[in-house]
Symmetry: C2
Subunit: 161 residues, 2 copies
């Protein structure tokens, strides 16, 4: 029997996309613009993001800390003012969500701008067991789970690995 | 005739306090706790602050950028969650505001915690001319205006200069 994931804990694996799957056309995707205001040496990050017209500021804890994520809504004026402060620390991409078998969901990110050509899929699972049993479809490439070079933070600061 | 300062531009000078002025007793002061979530290499800073029961998150631009300062109110739960992420990047002090001659206001900061013993005064002037003509009272010590080591950011990260 599947053990459901504890509330608020995401079970995710991350892969390169070898080729875009045919289902993509049926899932139009949302453009995401994301810029980092600042990142502390201990990994605390503060970013602003606009997705489907909704702008937010998010503070996330670093890897060695109790997991904290606080998100605040921003109006357009404030988003624009803060976005100016993220120059050189931005990523933009279009995210397509595609349902897979066993309740898993694939989030395919098609990067543009400085990261044009990069294709990453994050797959969210409903339980640890479905995550471990996952048989990647043929369009899924090399696994990136845990590879810090492919974290959004690193991609924004350092570009393509 | 005094030229009033342009809207939103602060005319300030900063000094060490040689000895606390006798007027201090008449101006009780407010305790300020301030912690930095993250500071970018270009100087963009994100801090949380609690002053007189009011908590805020503030994003400020760095020195080379168009001046931007955005402040957002935080409720207690959110302040507490974010405060945990500022460990090792905090200052606390009690601020006393004392009116001086010619409309100038002295903000005297009495630091405690790791910076215990540090006394700094920032004087806000109504115009560039009163700022330049300012004759410091005897309790005012060495000028610190422009000395980055005494910026709150540096004091929080690096401690006493």
């Amino acid at each position: 029997m599947d053990v459901p994931s504890p509330r608020g804990v995401e079970i995710e694996r991350k892969f390169l996309v070898a080729e875009l799957p045919p289902e993509l056309a049926a899932h139009p995707g949302q453009r995401i613009e994301q810029g980092y205001l600042a990142i502390a040496p201990d990994g605390v990050e503060v970013r602003v993001r606009r997705r489907a017209g909704r702008a937010t500021l998010t503070v996330k804890s670093g890897p060695g800390q109790v997991r904290t994520e606080e998100e605040m809504a921003l109006d357009e004026r404030r988003f624009d003012a803060l976005w100016q402060l993220t120059e050189g620390r931005r990523i933009s991409k279009t995210r397509h969500e595609i349902p897979l078998a066993a309740g898993a969901v694939a989030e395919i990110d098609v990067y543009d701008g400085a990261l044009d050509g990069l294709l990453i899929v994050e797959i969210e699972f409903g339980s640890l067991e479905t995550s471990e049993r996952f048989a990647p479809p043929p369009w899924v490439g090399r696994e990136l789970t845990g590879d810090k070079r492919y974290a959004n933070q690193s991609l924004a600061l350092d570009g393509l690995p």
